[in-house]
Symmetry: C2
Subunit: 492 residues, 2 copies
């Protein structure tokens, strides 16, 4: 089924890869490889020489080494749930996809050290479950947790719902094992909280989207299991109130504050319209809703009292218009269903442009309000849905087509993006808070990054991956010289 694709010696390479991982784990027919030829959203479709599924780090190393000698590109795949096309192979059939799906085991749990070492291909939900089994808590949590892999979370420095208290994926990683572009293995899986012995090399691999190394294993920080969770859904009149409430909660309950999620009225109404089981718990409509969660591993201090205290104080201060406290796990799930339903409803409702941005917390109200006004003036039939992780300064500023003519909406993509991103950058924000760059945002990266920054990124890429063979063209456009380099490398 295999055949010479975009480069010489394709058959030889495929035979070599099959010998490394076993014939059943080396796919080369078009029907077998098709599911790996696109990124998860289907934004980019390429063509692959082969898909290999190594079972060990040694196999990943041998695969990458073989690809380096053959001069082909290597595209790492985790759960393929990224939103920016970071897993799409190139168009010329020269790329080999390396899927980590078979590397899915826990290697070591050290409860006293609060660490766990895992294969990179473990699905995030299974990582969470393995921590829970040891009476520990691994806090990384996001919508795709049932299918995304921890290696992909690391490669993209995933954010999610618990960043407010526990940080991004970067803060949760103590050790990394990664295969470098030449097939050599960098391994430092020590579970140390303090280590200043030379450059902190693991930082290179976190958030670089598989362009500097393929993460094959990691040592994760764990935390005590949560034994108390209090959840409230609050209705507020303005974004200024939202921020004032956040500041009060931070001041008086920071240790326990694990979620502070914003949904606007339009997000709730869309969720009620499109997602079964979503209901408005309030008698009257309100402009904004905040899901606030407090949690703790200890049971000596009752969080219920603390929450009541917090709500009473903010009701009196006029910051909260109304509120409901979850009396059961079911209530809490209902509150979360509103937040998640807001995302799901947009998918169902029609086309939309997603902007995953961050600004300083102090700039959130001004950013959302003024950008909304600008967009509504320019595109009165479109609808802005701005929601997200207020405590992280991370707003998902989505623009839905709504009643706007679909062709006009399609034509307006770039102009809309420019309005949003310019507003973000003018406030010292980021045009990509948690989704990364992939293929989708390379030009935006170029536009909003200083030449010094871009030059540094290019210098790092060239230093670690001189042939440009690892996840080619992701984050940074591949330099024109790369194909020649690859060929030189191939003939060595």
């Amino acid at each position: 089924m295999s055949g010479p694709k975009g480069f010489a010696n394709g058959d030889e390479l495929i035979a070599e890869l099959a010998a490394i991982v076993g014939a059943g784990n080396c796919l080369s027919s078009q029907s077998d490889t098709a599911p790996y030829a696109s990124d998860g959203r289907g934004l980019f479709t390429g063509s692959v020489a082969a898909v290999v599924k190594p079972a060990t780090t040694a196999e990943v190393s041998a695969v990458v080494s073989a690809c380096a000698h053959a001069g082909c590109g290597v595209v790492p795949h985790g759960g393929n749930t990224g939103l920016c096309g970071g897993t799409a192979p190139g168009p010329d059939g020269r790329d080999v996809v390396v899927s980590l799906e078979r590397m899915n085991k826990v290697r070591l749990v050290d409860p006293a050290n609060d660490t766990m070492t895992v294969d990179a291909g473990m699905i995030l939900q299974n990582v969470q479950a393995a921590a829970a089994e040891a009476d520990r808590y691994f806090p990384l949590s996001l919508n795709a947790e049932g299918s995304c892999q921890i290696g992909g979370n690391i490669a993209t420095n995933a954010g999610g719902n618990a960043v407010l208290r526990y940080g991004n994926t970067r803060e949760l990683i103590l050790g990394i094992e990664a295969v470098l572009p030449d097939g050599s293995v960098f391994s430092d899986l020590r579970g140390l909280r303090k280590n200043n012995s030379g450059y902190d090399l693991k930082q290179l691999f976190i958030g670089s989207e598989g362009t500097l190394g393929i993460v094959t294993g990691a040592t994760l920080r764990l935390f005590p299991a949560r034994r108390q969770i209090e959840t409230a859904l609050l209705a507020l009149a303005s974004l200024d109130d939202v921020i004032a409430l956040y500041l009060d909660a931070r001041e008086h309950a920071q240790e326990f504050l694990t979620a502070f999620e914003l949904t606007p009225r339009i997000g709730l109404t869309m969720a009620m319209q499109h997602v079964p089981g979503v209901a408005d718990p309030f008698a009257e409509p309100h402009p904004y809703y905040v899901l606030l969660e407090l949690s703790s591993s200890q049971t000596r201090v009752g969080l219920g009292d603390l929450l009541v205290d917090l709500l009473e104080r903010n009701l009196e201060a006029g910051r909260i218009a109304d509120g409901v406290v979850a009396g059961s796990l079911g209530d809490a799930q209902d509150f979360w269903r509103i937040r998640e339903g807001c995302v799901e409803a947009q998918r169902i409702a029609g086309p939309s442009y997603k902007h995953d941005v961050s600004v300083p917390i102090s700039a959130i109200p001004g950013f959302i309000e003024s950008t909304k006004v600008t967009l509504e003036l320019a595109y009165p039939s479109a609808a802005v849905v701005a929601f997200g992780h207020v405590g992280d300064g991370n707003i998902h500023f989505n623009v839905c087509a709504a009643d706007m003519d679909r062709a006009e909406f399609a034509a307006a993509q770039h102009a809309i993006e420019e309005i949003v991103f310019d507003a973000v950058m003018a406030r010292g924000g980021s045009f990509s808070a948690e989704h990364g760059i992939g293929l989708l945002k390379r030009d935006v990266l170029l536009r909003y990054t200083t030449p010094v920054g871009i030059d540094l990124m290019r210098a790092i890429k060239l230093a670690v991956d001189p042939a440009g063979s690892l996840n080619p063209g992701k984050v940074l456009h591949a330099p024109p010289a790369v194909p020649e380099r690859q060929m030189e490398h191939a003939t060595q």
Copy 2:
């Protein structure tokens, strides 16, 4: 007073530097530059071409650019409090010291965003004070805080006393401004908690000891001010009890646990002998003492009750032999004086070898006990003082000469170091937890790091600083080719 030193055009360069920073801020006589010619501990003394004190980032940029053209090395100086010789200039008079001491201002405080942007030359204590003035808390705290500078803390990824709860310096940095080896300025001072727009370049400069860039400014994470602090000093019978107590405190009070510091009996007796004001609060001697601190920004939940609860439970479980709770700030200071007196006493008592190591928390008792036995068998007249940050796995494993013959002790340095570091590395630890590498530990770095790791560090250094001009020879030995490169660069 200036003259040609180790390289051609020395006079020209000095005139150029004086024109940039003002003659009064460009020192070149030997008497003026002498204080800058050694690292803070006086372990390494070199010779400098000049010492310059720029007042702005633009001046640092111009200075570094002039040095790059002249082909000389540039050695950044903060408070010069490092312990590994990272600030010592080279021996040949070709290095220019760039002292950040005049860049000592707060640039911006954003209380709602919980961030503060500062010049790199601000003394840490002044950073803490500026945060406190805004009713905020900047948690980085270490012995040298009265003279070390925040830029040096960043360059060395300083640890200190609050890592357990707030992380190392790396976790406290949201933005960085740095001057690169060619004089260009990398600037990203955005105070964002989520930002995945390309490689996270600030990570390059944190902990790389001034070898990749000179940090000139930073945006720091702040926290709510602490409004409750509870401190206890506990006496314990064994290291297993120390770890068991730590695990209990982590499980039942993690949100508030800000210090868990170990001092052995010998540390207390040495402190009582050498440091005025240190007293043993217990009626009988105990093998180990733990300083435990809980703190919080909120006042709704009383930490006093939580502490009593914790102590009662652990007394009943037999993990604590005795304990005292601070009834006043003065009491708490007395407890801290024991911990700090243990360090001071060693300085006064005579020569000692310091090993700043970390191991997984689960490995602490085995590491300390077995290494102590090995050393006491080999050197029965020496004394081991192992103390430190248990919750970070960070032990200061010091070996004091005590009654050992001074010449024999001097001759045994390498053998002692090897015993300690081999024991650390065999347990998956680090030979440098918070002090870094500088000049002092370069060979140790080579010994205990894989060739893949060393090659990656060298590739990064070469990519960012191809001429090898920034803090030459620190962390990594300068490659033999560097002088030639520098000269090539100089004639461009």
